[in-house]
């Protein structure tokens, strides 16, 4: 099994280009890759589209800033596709003042859209959002007496993920609730970059417990400061 390239945070950030769709794993920052995001902030790349469950915590008064909030703060994204921004006052402000385009998507639909992109599906029928604003502009298809919205796949150029353990081939395991969107985004993006807290030899990971198969991973970055941000 070939090994994946292990690169630095800085080299990883250079792989992310203006205008790209960037998917970032994590839920309220839990599962977001802090060091990759810090280097992306340092690189100052702009005009990206962010796909992330939420925009992390942004409460500067309490020094609670995590996940992609550090990038949102620098307005690195011209568009954000997300399910929840309730704990990030800065992205709310950017949205209300028209500085950043924000598209709010039900969380289950967002997860399934990313999965659909990774799995080669052209869309799916979900009951979520029927009769709400989410229905606007979408095709409604009835099946067995129930209404569904036709939702389409969402793919990305680059995924920035956090794993607890990677083997050198790129197989991944996540830590507890940090799994969330990682396995889906790994399948849906052209280039997948993973910050791993531990990198082990090929063969050391139980093949029954691998969550993301190696073939989805392009680059590994080793976490330097395990305490994270």
């Amino acid at each position: 099994m070939i090994e994946k390239e292990i690169i630095t945070c800085e080299a990883a950030a250079e792989l992310v280009k203006p205008g790209q769709v960037v998917m970032v794993g994590g839920f309220m920052g839990c599962g977001s890759p802090p060091e990759l995001l810090a280097s992306l902030k340092a690189a100052g790349t702009k005009d990206m589209t962010l796909v992330c469950n939420d925009c992390g915590w942004y409460i500067p008064a309490k020094d609670m800033i995590n996940g992609v909030a550090i990038n949102v703060e620098d307005k690195q994204f011209s568009k954000v596709i997300t399910s929840h921004i309730g704990l990030n006052s800065e992205i709310q402000r950017q949205m209300l003042e028209g500085e950043t385009e924000v598209q709010l998507v039900p969380q289950g639909t967002l997860a399934e859209q990313i999965r659909a992109a990774g799995c080669g599906l052209g869309g799916f029928l979900t009951p979520t959002g029927v009769g709400t604003e989410v229905e606007d502009g979408k095709q409604v298809i009835e099946y067995e007496g129930r209404k569904y919205l036709l939702e389409h796949p969402l793919k990305g150029d680059v995924a920035l993920l956090h794993a607890s353990v990677a083997d050198k081939a790129g197989n991944l395991m996540y830590a507890r609730s940090a799994r969330n969107f990682g396995p889906l985004m790994a399948m849906a993006c052209e280039t997948v970059i993973v910050q791993a807290d531990e990198i082990v030899e090929i063969g050391e990971m139980d093949p029954e417990c691998v969550v993301t198969p190696s073939i989805f991973v392009n680059y590994l970055v080793k976490t330097e400061n395990k305490e994270g941000k």
Binding site: M95, V130, G131, Y174, R176, S177
Partner: protein
């Protein structure tokens, strides 16, 4: 009759709806408190939409695990027998009808079972998170709210005015005054919580209200 908000009453009554083995998702805020009042001997499984089931209590101070948080981002624990999964599976569980009860907070709820709890246009636009999927997908949807808003208006509405979270999906409404089923375009009063009476609810309600044949006043301790 005087009214004092009592969130604990709401949480206590909801907690008694569950039976052994039920899979339950508790929303952030008031619904989370329901977990504190599940009766002895009733073993429910809490699902957390960010990717696990078997959600346990908050850890001791100092023992927080940054990689184990609930859907509100707060540190929690995993009970023995719980397990982790990704977000597509998590919402497969939710949308697929494998959650018996979801308990959600309320901005507005009406006699048709419509729920609005995620947006006040121009004022509060946090996004729906998992609320739309939970409301559409769970077998039973329980709305939890204090009975009156700050201006003293009943939360039992004829028709929601805010953007909806879901259409006709709320099955049960529990306030600090009573327990209602929502059926055929009406709030069906099953219980009031002492000292409140059915008359008190009738007087303060303009929405369609039906007193259930088996209505009773109960004491919530």
């Amino acid at each position: 009759m005087d009214y004092t908000p009592r969130k604990d009453v709401i949480a206590k009554r909801i907690a008694r709806l569950f039976s052994n083995g039920n899979v339950v998702n508790l929303g952030i805020g008031l619904p989370t408190q329901v977990g504190n009042y599940v009766p002895e001997g009733v073993d429910i499984i809490l699902q957390s939409e960010n990717g696990f089931m078997g959600l346990g209590p908050a850890p001791e101070k100092g023992k927080e695990d940054p990689f184990l948080v609930n859907a509100g981002g707060a540190p929690v624990t995993l009970l023995s027998g719980g397990c982790y999964f990704d977000s597509a599976t998590s919402f497969g569980i939710i949308r697929g009808g494998h959650v018996d009860y979801t308990v959600l907070g309320v901005l507005e709820v009406d006699q048709h079972g419509n729920l609005a709890n995620y947006k006040i246009p121009g004022k509060m636009v946090p996004g729906m998170g998992g609320a739309m999927d939970l409301t559409v997908g769970s077998k039973k949807v329980i709305a939890a709210t204090v009975h009156f808003d700050k201006k003293g208006n009943s939360k039992l509405m004829e028709k929601c005015t805010l953007p909806l979270t879901a259409l006709n999906e709320v099955d049960i409404l529990v306030t600090d005054v009573g327990y209602f089923e929502i059926k055929d375009g009406a709030f069906v009063l099953k219980e009031t919580f002492a000292p409140y009476t059915a008359e008190f609810v009738q007087e303060s309600t303009t929405a369609n209200l039906v007193i259930a044949p088996d209505y009773k006043q109960v004491v919530i301790i």
